[in-house]
């Protein structure tokens, strides 16, 4: 494409099938304890 550059390959809907295992860290535990951001958490599901 000449006018648009897409920065990522995967899309969120790809996570519907294999997600939801719950093994990842609880958001608020990770650094801040006063808010919530999930976008910066890591997935720990190796099978996904």
């Amino acid at each position: 494409m000449k006018h648009i550059k897409t920065l990522n390959d995967k899309t969120l809907n790809m996570t519907v099938k294999k997600g939801g295992c719950g093994e990842c860290q609880t958001s608020c535990q990770s650094a801040c304890k006063t808010s919530c951001t999930v976008g910066n958490q890591e997935c720990e599901n190796k099978k996904r």
Binding site: K5, L7, G22, G39
Partner: protein, 462 residues
């Protein structure tokens, strides 16, 4: 839903439901603006209509062929579900809600007491609307037993030592951790212990222990000496900076690649907080976090009027991160971290922070609360470590909140990065755990834009 924004000289499009991110050129941004003025969403065939190209070209006074070419690209992305994509997730809500709740994380308020007297402390210098006290090792062990029982088949369990100041109860921490290691073997679990400390009691022994046992150590400091000492004095009023900075530096060095965060709080009194972040950097810290204060004290609280300035600060922070990276010695800022290609699954993104369901806080006396910020507010008492969760009503209330139950979140472009915000903040500002905290949202949206913009820089290099 798409979100078009400009940051650091980039025109960026976030397709909310697919989480696709596109860098677009200036003319494409102008075309999109016209499209979005007309309506919110388009189909791929609609975008390829010659009539649309003619109209937009006329409005922009541009060559119709160029505009048709741009619309063609937009149409292509739409056809493959990376632009104007629909929300396929709402149907999953019942599945998320029906899931049997398992507890996987505890915040052990091991010390309701503190050796500092930070002026914005939501724990009220450790008292949490109640009395002072330290958790006994016995209560801590019961809390771990409870966690093992309540976690079902979940293997990774998290336990954060929090306070007040947890190191006031260092002996109990050691005993509880040792007990946790025994439980791991017996029940095939993995405990991830973490700790949040103000640094006053750090020493060689604590460092060694933390490096052996703690997956993450969060160190609190507010920034420049005058800022820190105004907000984080000892009980007698003298500043804490001179005593704690060398200790925090030593701890951070000792981590040697293991996770730590240096965490600050900014208030309405230091809205130029990027100077404080730069100060952290100059002190040698590279893993940084800086949070808006949570308080209703008018002297410090963030108001509507501060938002514009804070947003400018976040932009300045993006520039600072770029500069340091270009100079070959980058740092990380917790709230600007985003993984566009990986990151959590949509279930995690829609179910929020987990307070009151998978995450609970424990008082020194073994009482359970939905999270550390609700501790001491009687109406939220959930139960205790011996009997488990007995107040099902409160538990149900927390479980029922998700991205799709809050109207503001439904229409928010940042929703799959934010996850629905902090229920404690919402409660403080609106009196409801599913209420709105508009200031927090404004800032969260800005942080998401900045995080994405940093990726745009990365892509230019690549």
């Amino acid at each position: 839903m798409i979100h078009l924004f400009r940051n650091s000289g980039f025109d960026i499009v976030l397709d909310v439901n697919s989480a696709a991110v596109h860098l677009v050129d200036e003319m494409t941004a102008r075309v999109l603006r016209i499209l979005l003025d007309r309506k919110d969403t388009y189909g791929s065939e609609e975008l390829a209509e010659p009539e649309l190209a003619r109209e937009v070209a006329e409005e922009l006074d541009q060559d119709p062929e160029l505009i048709a070419e741009i619309l063609g690209e937009l149409s292509e992305l739409t056809a493959v579900g990376r632009l104007f994509s629909k929300d396929p997730y709402e149907a999953l809500v019942p599945k998320v809600m029906d899931n049997k709740t398992v507890v996987k994380a505890l915040c052990l308020n091991i010390a309701h007491d503190c050796n500092l007297a930070c002026r914005y402390c939501f724990a009220e210098e450790g008292e949490y609307h109640g009395r002072r006290g330290l958790m006994s090792a016995e209560t801590g062990k019961k809390a771990l037993d409870f966690l093992v029982r309540a976690s079902g088949s979940r293997r990774n369990l998290e336990v954060d030592f929090f306070g007040g100041e947890p190191l006031l109860a260092f002996d109990a921490i050691k005993e509880i951790v040792a007990y946790g290691r025994e439980l791991e073997k017996k029940h095939d679990k993995l405990f991830r212990f973490t700790m949040t400390t103000n640094g006053v009691l750090l020493n060689r022994e604590v460092e060694e222990f933390a490096n052996r046992e703690m997956a993450n150590v969060v160190l609190s400091l507010d920034g420049r000496k005058e800022v820190n000492d105004r907000m984080r004095p000892f009980r007698g009023g003298q500043g804490s900076y001179d005593l704690i900075v060398p200790k925090l530096q030593s701890m951070a060095r000792a981590r040697d690649g293991k996770q730590y965060y240096l965490r600050g709080t900014f208030t309405s009194q230091n809205l130029d907080f990027v100077k404080d972040i730069e100060h952290f950097y100059d002190l040698g810290f590279r893993e940084l976090s800086m949070e808006p204060v949570v308080t209703d004290d008018p002297q410090f609280m963030i108001t509507e009027d501060n938002i514009a300035q804070i947003k400018d600060e976040y932009d300045r922070l993006v520039q600072l991160m770029r500069e340091k990276k270009d100079a070959g010695d980058p740092f990380r800022f917790f709230h600007f971290m985003i993984d566009l290609d990986g990151g959590p699954c949509v279930y995690k993104r829609m179910s929020g922070c987990g307070a009151g369901t998978e995450y609970l806080a424990v008082t020194p006396w073994g009482e359970l609360y939905p999270c550390h910020q609700f501790v001491g507010q009687e109406e939220f008492l959930l139960g205790n470590v011996e009997d488990g969760i007995t107040n099902d009503e409160v538990s149900r209330r927390f479980k029922s909140v998700n991205l799709y139950t809050k109207d503001a979140c439904r229409s928010c472009f940042a929703k799959f990065c934010c996850g629905g915000g902090c229920m404690a903040n919402a409660y403080q500002s609106s009196g409801r755990i599913d209420g709105d905290y508009e200031i927090g949202c404004e800032l969260e949206r800005k942080r998401v834009e900045c995080a994405i913009a940093l990726k745009a820089f990365g892509s230019e290099e690549g």
